[in-house]
Amino acid sequence: MNFDWTTFVLEIVNFLILVWILKRFLYQPVLGVIARRRADIDKSLSDALQIRNEANELKARNEQYLIEWEAKKETAQAQLNAELASIRESKLAELETRINEEAERRRVLTERNRHEFERLMEEKGIAQGAAFTNKLLMRLASTELESRLFIVLMEDLQGLREQDKHVIAIAAEEPGLQIKIQSTFPLDTSKRGELTRSLHQMTGKTLPIVFNTNPELISGFQIDIGAWILHANLRDELKSFGGVLRHAG
């Protein structure tokens, strides 16, 4: 067991130097990187924890949002249903009103068509009646009927109202006026004289009188005194009868 003081001292110095070397080049770097890794892991864990907490918070918020959204949806749906029901009711009411109006319009139109149809039928009937009467009267037209009508004419002239006589007197004032008398058949001299006298008496003047025949009158007379015309024939009577019937219809 030899003991060497130089080796002893140098060994102590060497060991202390080795402690420094290993501390500088091994322990500190390795422990440092381990500490950094642990810090990183801790940070990652902390971040992960924070992310998980945030995720849970977001999840809770999302669930709450979904609940609120569901409630809003139900409220909006109920409101929509109510609005739809209201609109449907108003539309139904409006439609019903329109249907009633349309029904009324159709009823009025049907009524008018019916009246029109009735009027047309009446006019047709009147026209057929007039044509039939015209045809019948044309077959019945004769001097005898004309003589009877002459008598009626004379009665009518004598039975004129004072107002009509006044209108005839005014019409006879027209200068150069001729009284035109149309008849279906030629009048004999006595009837012409009787009629001339009666007209001169009525107008108060001896106006010239022109006699003509007009077969279209069917039977009877037409007297023109200026603007005043006296219809005493079957044609005009039939026209007047048809017009009265139309107005009455």
Binding site: M1, N2, F3, D4, W5, T6, T7, F8, V9, L10, E11, I12, N14, F15, L16, I17, L18, V19, I21, L22, K23, F25, L26, Y27, P29, V30, L31, G32, V33, I34, R36, R37, D40
Partner: protein, 225 residues
């Protein structure tokens, strides 16, 4: 075996082969550590994983004994373990001898342990508290404490020196008597013994340091009470 060869002289001081071997170990360790730790990354490679595993294993062992002062004593204890392991295994290399097979070396290491126990003890609780623990539980035990300090230091030095020296001596004797390949199993035993002795030396040093530091804490607690 016990007489180291002087390689060269620096003035009156003869530099022995043991010191030169120690320098070689130091340079090798420094280069390896520098190469291994110059590109450390958060995602470790194989070499970095190995280095981290080594340092963490040492740290865990120290932490199991003295959890409050792990970082404080780690450089000293870890260097003891690493140096003694490598120094013990150096004897397996032909033409080289384990530095720990020299009593001068083991005595130096034991002296360092002896001094570090007081150094860490005083740093932990102050001079007065540290010296007071020699008087606890009763001043009558002071001589025994002092004897214990000396004897355990000597025991440290002699235990390591004796084991390593005897291993090399036995291997040499077997080689001389039996032949070339017969000492190979003995060399395997050398590896195990080198590891065990390094662990024992470092663990004892750790326990001594921890005892000194924790005795201060117990003294503090007793004073507080």
């Amino acid at each position: 075996m016990d007489i180291p060869t002087v390689v060269f002289y620096v003035g009156p001081f003869g530099i022995t082969s043991i010191v030169v071997t120690t320098w070689g170990i130091m340079i090798t360790l420094a280069i390896c550590c520098w190469l291994g730790t110059r590109r450390l990354a958060l995602v470790p490679g194989k070499l970095q994983t190995m280095l981290e595993g080594l340092v963490l294993a040492i740290e865990d062992n120290i932490n199991a004994v003295i959890p409050d002062h792990t970082q404080q004593v780690l450089p000293f204890i870890a260097t003891l373990w690493l140096y003694i392991v490598i120094a013990n295994l150096t004897g397996l290399i032909p033409q080289l001898h384990s530095p720990t097979g020299s009593f001068s070396v083991t005595a130096g290491l034991a002296l360092l342990v002896f001094l570090s126990v007081h150094w860490f003890g005083i740093r932990s609780g102050g001079v007065r508290n540290y010296l007071r623990h020699y008087l606890s539980p009763t001043p009558l035990l002071l001589p025994f404490h002092l004897i214990s300090e000396v004897t355990r230091t000597i025991a440290l030095a002699v235990r390591l020196f004796g084991n390593i020296m005897s291993l090399e001596l036995v291997a040499l004797l077997v080689l001389l008597v039996a032949g070339l390949l017969v000492p190979v199993p003995l060399l395997m035993l050398h590896v195990i013994e080198a590891l065990v002795q390094a662990y024992i030396f470092g663990m004892l040093a750790l326990i001594y340091v921890a005892g000194a530091m924790q005795s201060q804490q117990e003294s503090k607690k007793g004073n507080d009470i």
